[in-house]
Symmetry: C2
Subunit: 220 residues, 2 copies
DNA sequence: ATAAAATTTTAGGCAAATCTAAAAAATATT
DNA sequence: AATATTTTTTAGATTTGCCTAAAATTTTAT
């Protein structure tokens, strides 16, 4: 029921790596955790003994139902703290992740449920990732690449994948931030550029390059 | 500059034990940390090597200037989180300590300074203990035992040292809580009982036993 | 001042989490 | 199908933080 920081980091990494396909490999996990394959094998034996994963030597591993539940709990803590840091403490959204990496390991259920309530039961963190509720349920990740969204849609900016200074400078100039609502006026097939009109702003056009780095949701 | 959870717990415990007198003994520290004297000796060697304490075998130890600075940083984190839990998340004041024990080890300076600002730079935690500021300065602990306070004074309840169910039940009955303002009407030398009158309440008398467990401040 | 008691330290071990180097197994190549 | 390459596991160390039992030292009592 209670796991070490190290065990939690492995569980979380497996959760993120396994996507919907299923299996995670020793090498991939070692790379994700900046550790060595031998260390991964060691830990996999331990997690298997604790029934958090299924594991066949040489054939990778995947989370058990219990492991998935545990992972969702860790993800919940991480994303609630990210929300808190950005929303209440005014952290820049590119700084929240690192601090949340540490806060997520404080595993008092009471703390997390009260924090959730205090924050107003948010459904998404500042990066636009869904926050599991106390039962482990979360909204499906409804984000799409702006470049792949149909014209004449009204959408809300949820996430920006490239967070370089240059990109952020461009977004700032265009007054686009997380939560900005905008309409897709037209898509030009010649260069895949598109014309958009943020609410309360003039329409302008943006490049495919930019549109591929902006993720939006349809419903709120 | 960055210490393990275990090192931080030792440093904090030495800080609390050394009071103003100075030296802390191996046995006392072992008792405070629920560990064995041999483990204390091991850790003392490590902390000495890191120049956080001065340590002469068989003659106890005390914090160095650097150790004291480190301890104040940990105490600052602990008490700010206690304040946050009580004030923002509505924790009961007897529940904040345990969770803060874990949160205090997340050592991002930026996090703590922003938290401090968010909370409005509080000077005292929910137990009435002073919170060091980011430079390590704090108000002197202005609390006195109610039993040792002069008659005819107007004071504010700041802290209750005994937090047993029985004690809390008595306080609840008397409607005394942290922040309650009360006047000391009279002291009876026969049994050291005293008559007090909480603001907006009738006066009543309390035993010396109770008065010794209630701490009050004079100025606010 | 010596013996008894209490305190502290040393010595040697253990578990968790990591590592390197070598062996084993699976996959890819010719 | 046999060999080479890649991946994974095993074997054996290392570090941190803890333990027990025994030895060393200090303190207390006679």
């Amino acid at each position: 029921m209670n796991y070490s920081v190290s065990e939690e980091n492995y569980i979380k990494a497996i959760f993120h790596l396994q996507g919907d396909s299923g299996n995670v490999t020793t090498n991939d996990l070692a790379a994700a955790l900046h550790t060595r394959p031998a260390s991964v094998t060691d830990m996999m034996k331990k997690l298997k003994a604790k029934k958090l994963i299924s594991y066949q030597p040489y054939y990778g591993f995947k989370l058990s139902a219990e492991g998935r539940k545990t992972a969702l709990g860790i993800v919940r803590r991480h994303r609630l703290w990210e929300y808190f840091l950005a929303e209440k403490l005014n952290f820049d959204w590119e700084d929240v992740h690192e601090v949340a990496e540490h806060l997520e390991h404080v595993s008092s259920k009471k703390l997390i449920d009260k924090l959730d309530e205090y924050l107003g039961f948010p459904k998404f963190d500042p990066h636009g990732d869904p926050i599991p509720d106390s039962a482990g349920h979360m909204e499906s990740d409804a984000r799409n690449m702006l470049s792949e969204t149909e014209a004449h849609q009204m959408v809300t900016v949820a996430y920006v994948s490239n967070q370089s200074k240059e990109m952020l400078a461009l977004l700032k100039h265009r007054k686009i931030r997380i939560g900005t609502k905008l309409e897709i006026i037209k898509k030009f097939s010649f260069d895949q550029s598109l014309e958009i009109k943020p609410k309360n702003q003039q329409a302008f056009s943006i490049s495919e390059t930019l549109a591929k780095n902006i993720f939006v949701t349809h419903e709120q």
